[in-house]
């Protein structure tokens, strides 16, 4: 019990700390007092620039991290697979490809990017379920299927970008994440959608707990397990789609955070979901801040940093081998 409370306090303090640090440091650097004063009274030109340009980026990073972590928790619960992650399984790649598709063909729809991202994520998720269901969603099989799905959608996306370039249409060229040019419009999109997804995830947390039992047992308790699975999957895909449509593909956040969170606060999803959200927010904001400040004025995208941390982490999980069958 104590360990859980301490973990919460530490992660909240860390998140607040890195948020303030991230706001204060960069191409324009201000002191803490100037920052707080400027935010409250809007009396500093420098702080106003920070509010306009850096705050949206920070908020989007925080939300993206929280969303990806919670999406990972849900995927791992519903697939009973500790390696499930929207990025690894190609759900983000599907979402990314469909987002581009939406941008090209229905650019007028305000909500279209998220909607198309959701469709793409759902398509990827269905492919994963169809191809690895019979083997009981074995962790490695899901990963292999995910690699294939991911490669396919990344390829399709690149093909689409190239075709557009041929016709002199410029579209978002990079498949990598982009937290750089975030505006308050992005914030207005990601905050309500992201919060909605996280709240829905929290509401289904008793079901996630229940999925710790075997399917057989869940059915014996009078629960419609397919409906539960579909609902949790839909929420998880929705979260991944929101993050991808706004921040691009960031792999591994949904893998690392739930894993560490389970070690710290246990597997009760009432606690695990909020904790993972906080920890994910901390991780992505830290990665983005780090990438922004490390070799300024050049930037390393947060997704690149996550790939560098996440790759070894996945290898570490794979080496734990026999633990893979139980989350």
């Amino acid at each position: 019990m104590n360990k859980k409370i301490i973990s919460f306090i530490v992660v909240i303090l860390a998140l607040v700390g890195v948020t303030v640090y991230s706001a204060a440091k960069g191409s324009i650097s201000v002191g803490m007092m100037t920052l707080v004063d400027g935010v409250l009274h809007r009396n500093s030109e420098e702080v106003n620039v920070i509010i306009d340009l850096r705050f949206p980026r920070i908020i989007v990073s925080i939300l993206t991290g929280a969303i990806l972590a919670v999406s990972g928790v849900l995927f791992q619960s519903v697939m009973r697979n500790p390696l499930a992650d929207a990025g690894i399984m190609g759900i983000s790649a599907g979402a990314s490809f469909f987002t581009l598709f939406g941008l090209l063909f229905l650019p007028s729809l305000f909500i279209s990017s998220t909607l198309f991202a959701f469709l793409g994520g759902a398509v990827s998720c269905c492919i994963i379920y169809m191809l690895s269901w019979k083997s009981g969603l074995k962790p490695l099989r899901v990963i292999l299927t995910g690699i294939a799905v991911s490669a396919m959608f990344t390829g399709l996306r690149e093909a689409l970008v190239n075709i557009c370039a041929y016709f002199n249409v410029t579209v978002g060229a990079s498949n990598a994440s982009n937290l750089t040019m975030k505006t308050w419009e992005d914030v207005e999109l990601i905050v309500p959608l992201g919060m909605l997804g996280i709240i829905l995830a929290f509401l289904v947390s008793p079901w996630c707990n229940m999925l710790k039992l075997q399917d057989k047992k869940v059915v014996q308790l009078g629960v419609n397990i397919q409906l539960v699975r579909i609902l949790i999957s839909v929420i998880a895909v929705f979260l991944a789609a929101v993050a991808t449509s706004i921040a691009g593909i960031i792999v591994f956040a949904g893998l690392i955070i739930p894993h560490i969170s389970r070690q710290l606060v246990g597997t009760n999803h009432h606690i695990l979901i909020p904790f993972s959200a906080l920890a994910g927010a901390f991780l992505i904001l830290t990665a983005d801040t780090f990438g922004r400040l490390l070799i300024a004025p050049l930037e390393i995208p947060a997704s690149t940093i996550m790939a560098v941390i996440g790759g070894p982490f996945l290898i570490f999980l794979l080496r734990k081998g026999d633990k893979l069958n139980g989350v």
Binding site: L203, V204, P206, W207, M210, K212, L213, Q214, K216, K217, V219, Q220, L221, G222, V223, N224, G266, T267, N268, G326, V327
Partner: protein
């Protein structure tokens, strides 16, 4: 509970054909038979774990598939042969799942739920273990936890699939006397699959003997577990003895 003309097939191969039988109210019924005879399958069919291909199973005069999922889970609870649970869940958290048939997922526990959980802990003698992780328990205790989970469902009927298989002799006896107590004190109808014929003799009111997907005998243990029957079913010679202390018991002699 009754079943009529019950047939079951998987992969298009007929496995059971036209089984007839019943489960008597407030009795302990034990299903025995050689490996692969369909004991567990019959149990699973009666508990809606698998769907029969033809025939009917009725509970309180109604077809079992006419019950809603949750209503059925208030009628019959099942203890599976193998169980798995994540490591850090406590005994009480696990037993709380037994209340799922009674409440919406986000509802708090009400007094009924609390009473049922308390009662389940008490019956299985686990009051002192409720805050301990299930993974820290011994095999015998763990099996009691799964029974407690089923008891929290507050059903009239309890199914157990080979409840003693992975236990040593002490815990086998402990478990069987718990099952008998549940039947005699709390009036729960018990249906279980056992391998040990002596246990079946001692703890059952009725025995169903199966072989190759068919019911070969049904009746009180004394009538069913006889030299001739066991030779026919298992192809094993046994001696059936009786003395004042132990009652009826069997000794396998040769094959």
């Amino acid at each position: 509970m009754e079943f009529k003309e019950l047939s079951f097939s998987y992969d298009d191969k007929a496995f059971m054909e036209k089984l007839e039988g019943k489960i008597e109210h407030n009795k302990i019924t034990t299903i025995i038979g050689p490996n692969g005879c369909g004991k567990s399958t019959l149990l699973s069919l009666l508990a809606r774990g698998q769907k029969h291909s033809a025939g009917s199973i009725t509970l309180d005069g109604k077809d079992i598939y006419s019950y809603k999922h949750k209503d059925f889970a208030r009628k019959i609870a099942m203890v599976n042969q193998t169980n798995h649970i994540s490591e850090d869940m406590t005994v009480e958290e696990l037993i709380q799942f037994g209340r799922i048939p009674y409440k919406k997922i986000w509802k708090q526990e009400n007094a009924d739920d609390k009473d049922a959980i308390e009662w389940a802990l008490e019956c299985t003698n686990l009051q002192n273990y409720k805050d301990i992780p299930v993974s820290a328990l011994s095999g015998g205790q763990r099996q009691r936890v799964w029974i407690a989970l089923a008891l929290a469902q507050k059903t009239e009927i309890l199914f157990l699939d080979e409840p003693t298989t992975y236990l040593d002799i002490y815990h086998q006896l402990e478990l069987l006397s718990l099952i008998r107590e549940l039947n005699q004190v709390h009036g729960i109808t018990i249906v279980m699959v056992l391998h040990d014929m002596n246990q079946a003799l001692r703890y059952s009111d009725m025995v169903i003997v199966m072989k190759s997907g068919a019911i070969k005998a049904y009746g009180p243990p004394k009538q069913v577990i006889t030299q001739e029957k066991i030779k026919e079913i298992y192809d094993v010679h046994i001696a059936v003895n009786e003395d004042d202390k132990t009652g009826l018991y069997i000794v396998p002699l040769s094959i």
